[in-house]
């Protein structure tokens, strides 16, 4: 599972080549899910009913839906397709916040800003988010969900200007994923105005990550310093002998 989600994720980016869109809105099933997500999920939740209603709106035959989805998606489950749409559409929305994020002075602030935007974009469907999370962690769906979660952290890292080249690349993404999942769980029971408690909770978690990153870096510097003095010791011993 771990190996799969590490190896299959591909966000390769080249300025000379067109990017592959996160959601291809020319596809019929994407149009249908989009309609269902915007117009019906806030009221009806992440379930087949929302998709049926959207199909009626779009004058499609609702009895044909299972056929349409079974042959084109791996989950073979309409509710999960809606959840995945929710994840992808909101991830795609982050692109639009990049310019605003770029005005912020440092990477940590940009991360907080993007996480906040992403969390607040849950607002219209927040009463159904618990059920969505339940679907995401079902064994048959966990792989897709983790892929999406990692892609979210990777997008946020990239948009906020991450330039890590070593193991910090992984620590950063895994910690961001952790912060996001914990904040979403917090959000489920948050009744505060504009989810300010959730945002506060998220900021505290990012503070912790910042401290952790500091510890990692200091450890590396400490190790290199020690290697230096050890070698000098060895050299002095050799010279003496």
């Amino acid at each position: 599972m771990f190996k799969r989600s590490i190896q299959q994720i591909r966000n390769f980016h080249s300025v000379y080549h067109a990017d592959v869109p996160i959601l291809d809105s020319s596809k019929l099933e994407v149009k249908l899910l989009s309609k269902a997500y915007t117009d019906h999920v806030p009221k009806l939740g992440f379930n087949e009913k929302s998709v049926y209603e959207a199909a009626k709106d779009l004058k499609l035959n609702p009895n044909n839906l299972n056929g349409l989805f079974q042959f084109t998606t791996p989950s073979k489950n309409l509710s999960m397709e809606l959840v995945l749409y929710h994840l992808r559409a909101n991830r795609a929305k982050l692109v639009g916040y990049r310019t605003e994020a770029n005005n912020l002075a440092n990477e940590s602030d940009r991360i907080r800003f993007l996480l906040k935007k992403r969390l607040l974009d849950n607002s219209p469907v927040v009463s159904h988010l618990g059920k969505a999370l339940g679907l995401m962690v079902m064994p048959s769906n966990l792989g897709c969900s983790l892929d999406e979660l990692h892609k979210l952290s990777d997008d946020i890292s990239f948009y906020s200007g991450d330039r890590s080249n070593d193991f910090a690349w992984y620590s950063k993404r895994f910690s961001l994923s952790g912060v996001f999942v914990q904040s979403e769980l917090f959000m489920l029971n948050d009744k505060s105005d504009g989810f300010e408690h959730t945002i506060e909770f998220m900021n505290d978690r990012v503070d912790e990550v910042d401290k952790l990153a500091y510890a990692y870096n200091s450890f590396e510097e400490w190790a290199i310093f020690n290697a230096h003095s050890t070698v000098n010791l060895i050299k002095s011993q050799i010279a003496r002998g």
């Binding site: 080249n165 952790l212 050299k235």
Partner: protein
């Protein structure tokens, strides 16, 4: 704020270049990604091998400038691939902590064997890396000509690939220079020469194989 974050305070540069070509195929992307990941790990290793050798041998005035020159070039190689990795959103090898310790240790150990040991190490490493870069250049020139230009629809090789080819061949030439430097500085006098060089070559090949994948 953390050191990691502080280092990276500069604002995000927005890309102004417009894409000239349609998307690469998943296989083409996967190969470019592998190239950048393994070369980054390799140059990280090279950088740290010289760091180790320099630590062991910099007290010898006749060796210091030679090592420093090669080390500086490796730092430049390493920085170049670090930038490519970030810009292309390639995940670095997850084993970077191991590459760091291993490469530094290899440089240090061969350096402590003395000048000849260090040079034998360089010779072995550069032999493998030179061949490895040549292999990549062959694949790049054979498999990237079929991507269509957005405006004309004609298939051609994008600047993405030609830039990378130019970069790799420049580095390949510098690695071969290092190889010559090592031979001129008595790498063949190292004892046991055959054991040192063959062990290091095998190690490098195993590391390349692993870093391409994880």
């Amino acid at each position: 704020m953390s050191l990691i974050l502080k280092r990276l305070q500069s604002t995000v540069a927005e890309t102004v270049i417009k894409p000239t070509h349609k998307a690469l195929s998943p296989a083409q992307q996967a190969y470019l990604e592998r190239v950048i990941r393994v070369d980054q790990a390799g140059e990280l290793g090279a950088n740290l091998i010289y760091a180790g050798q320099y630590m062991a041998l910099s007290h010898k005035p006749e060796l210091k400038p030679i090592l420093k020159h090669m080390w500086d070039q490796e730092i430049h190689h390493h920085n170049t691939f670090n930038n490519l990795q970030v810009e292309h959103r390639v995940r670095p090898s997850i084993l970077t902590p191991i590459w760091k310790v291993g490469a530094f240790g290899m440089g240090l150990a061969t350096g402590l064997l003395g000048k000849e040991g260090a040079m034998a190490c360089t010779e072995a490493v550069e032999t493998v890396i030179g061949g490895h870069y040549n292999q990549q250049l062959r694949v790049l020139s054979n498999n990237y000509g079929d991507v269509e230009e957005i405006e004309t629809g004609k298939p051609s090789v994008s600047k993405q690939v030609t830039d990378l080819q130019a970069q790799i061949s420049e580095f390949r030439d510098e690695e071969l220079e290092h190889l010559n430097t090592a031979v001129q500085n008595d790498s063949h006098e190292a004892r046991p020469y055959w054991l040192i060089t063959e062990t290091i070559k095998l190690t490098c090949k195993a590391a390349v194989w692993t870093a391409e994948r994880v």
